[in-house]
C-alpha cells in the first residue's frame, strides 16, 4: 500500500510542477530590482549599479558588444534542451532589427554572472536596454509574442 501512495504523490507532484512550469515558462517579466538601497550586497555599492531600477551589464562582463538599442543576453549550458530553440528564436528576431543584439553566454564559463544574477536554469534570457540595464527576464524558451512586446517597451 505504501507504494500506491508514493506513486500517487509522485505523479501528483510532477503534474503540479509540470503545469506550473508550462504556465510560467517563457514569460518576459520585469526584471527584479536587486539594487534597492536596503540591500547590502557588494555589487550594489558601485555607482553604476542603479539605472532604470535594473542592474547594469557591460560589454566587458558579457564579452560581447551591446546592441545600440537593446540586447538579449541568453544564458545557455551544455545540457539544455530549449537553448537551441531559444537561440534560433532570438537570432531570428535580432536579424530583422538593427541595433538589437543577441549575446549567448555559456553559463558554466560565467559562474560569477550566474550567481550575481541568480540564474538557476538555462535558458534564462535577459533583455537589456540601450544602457545595458536589465529590464526584462524570462526563463525557459521565451514566447515570441512576449519577447516582441518586451522589446517594444524597452526600445
Amino acid at each position: 500500500m505504501t507504494g500506491v501512495w508514493i506513486l500517487v504523490i509522485a505523479l501528483a507532484a510532477a503534474t503540479a510542477f509540470g503545469l506550473w512550469r508550462r504556465w510560467s515558462d517563457g514569460r518576459m517579466s520585469d526584471a527584479p530590482v536587486p539594487v534597492g538601497a536596503d540591500e547590502p550586497e557588494a555589487h550594489v555599492d558601485t555607482p553604476d549599479a542603479r539605472h532604470h531600477g535594473g542592474e547594469l551589464l557591460t560589454s566587458q562582463e558579457l564579452g560581447a558588444a551591446l546592441g545600440e538599442k537593446a540586447t538579449f543576453v541568453q544564458f545557455s549550458s551544455a545540457f539544455c534542451q530549449p537553448c537551441r530553440s531559444t537561440r534560433l528564436l532570438l537570432g531570428g528576431i535580432v536579424a530583422e532589427l538593427p541595433g538589437v543584439a543577441h549575446v549567448e553566454i555559456d553559463a558554466e564559463e560565467h559562474m560569477d554572472l550566474v550567481r550575481r544574477l541568480e540564474i538557476r536554469r538555462t535558458p534564462t534570457v535577459l533583455l537589456l536596454d540601450a544602457d545595458g540595464a536589465i529590464r526584462k527576464r524570462a526563463t525557459g524558451l521565451p514566447r515570441k509574442s512576449e519577447v516582441l512586446a518586451a522589446l517594444g517597451q524597452v526600445v
Partner: protein, 253 residues
C-alpha cells in the same frame, strides 16, 4: 548550398547501402565529409527552412537524421562578434564528445554532435514511468529488483554509449517511429543522455536501498526518477538537464 548538398549526398549514400534502417544516424558521419570545414568557415548561412526541407526529403529514405546543428554553426560564423568563442564553446560542449583537441574557436569541431528525433526520449520516458510505477507497487520483491536492474541497464546503456544505444530508443526507432512519420524537428542528443545518467544514479540508489534492507530509500529514489520521467513524457521537461547548472553552481561555489 553546399552544406545541404553534403547532407543529402551522405543520406543518399546511406540509403543506397541500406546501412541504416533506423531513424537515426550519427551526425559524425555527415560532418566528417571533406569540405565541410570550408563551407562552415565561409560562414554559409543555412536557414531553418532549408534544413527542414532536407529533413523531410531525407526522412523519406527512412533516415530522419540531418545535422540541423550546422545551421547553428553557420550562425555563429556569420556574426563575427566577440561572443563567438562563448557560443562555440557552448556548442562544442553540447556536442558532448568527439571534440577531441579541436580548437573551440573552429566551428568545425563544434559541428560534431548527434541529433535525434525528440519523440524517442519521450517515448522512452513513458516506458520508464510504467516500469518504475510497477517497481513502486512491488517493493520489496524480486520483481522490483529485476525491474530496477533492467531500468539501470537501460539508463546505463544511454549513459555509456549514447541515447541510440538505449533499449527504449531502439524500440522506438524500430517499432514506433516508422508509424509516426518524420519528425518536425530534431534535438541534440546530449541533454537526454545527461538526464539518463541522472536517472541511473537514482535507480542505483534504489537498488542499494533494497540491497541493504532499507526499502524507504528505494521508494524515494524510485519516486524521484519516476517523477522526472513523467515530466519528460507528459510535459517534455528535462528535469535531469536542469540539475546540471545547479550542480555546477554548487560545485564551484
Amino acid at each position: 548550398m553546399r552544406k545541404t548538398r553534403d547532407v543529402q549526398d551522405d543520406a543518399a549514400v546511406v540509403d543506397d547501402t541500406a546501412e541504416v534502417e533506423m531513424a537515426e544516424v550519427d551526425v559524425t558521419e555527415v560532418d566528417g565529409s571533406p569540405g565541410d570545414g570550408d563551407a562552415e568557415r565561409s560562414g554559409v548561412e543555412v536557414d531553418t527552412a532549408e534544413v527542414d526541407v532536407t529533413v523531410s526529403e531525407v526522412a523519406e529514405s527512412d533516415v530522419a537524421e540531418v545535422d540541423v546543428a550546422e545551421s547553428d554553426v553557420a550562425e555563429v560564423d556569420a556574426e563575427a562578434d566577440p561572443a563567438d568563442d562563448d557560443r562555440v564553446a557552448g556548442d562544442a560542449a553540447e556536442g558532448g564528445s568527439a571534440v577531441d583537441g579541436a580548437d573551440v574557436t573552429e566551428p568545425v569541431g563544434a559541428g560534431v554532435r548527434t541529433m535525434i528525433d525528440p519523440r524517442g526520449p519521450r517515448f522512452g520516458a513513458a516506458l520508464t514511468v510504467v516500469v518504475l510505477a510497477v517497481v513502486l507497487l512491488t517493493i520489496p520483491s524480486v520483481i522490483a529488483v529485476v525491474l530496477l536492474v533492467w531500468q539501470a541497464i537501460a539508463f546505463g546503456a544511454a549513459a555509456l554509449f549514447g541515447v541510440q544505444a538505449q533499449p527504449y530508443g531502439i524500440l522506438y526507432r524500430s517499432s514506433v517511429a516508422p508509424r509516426l512519420g518524420p519528425p518536425t524537428e530534431m534535438e541534440d542528443a546530449a541533454p537526454p543522455r545527461f538526464a539518463q545518467q541522472v536517472g541511473l544514479v537514482f535507480v542505483v540508489v534504489a537498488l542499494v536501498g533494497l540491497a541493504v534492507g532499507v526499502p524507504i530509500v528505494a521508494y524515494i529514489a524510485t519516486a524521484f526518477a519516476l517523477a522526472a520521467a513523467f515530466l519528460n513524457a507528459a510535459f517534455n521537461f528535462c528535469l535531469g538537464c536542469e540539475i546540471y547548472l545547479l550542480v555546477q553552481r554548487f560545485r564551484r561555489a
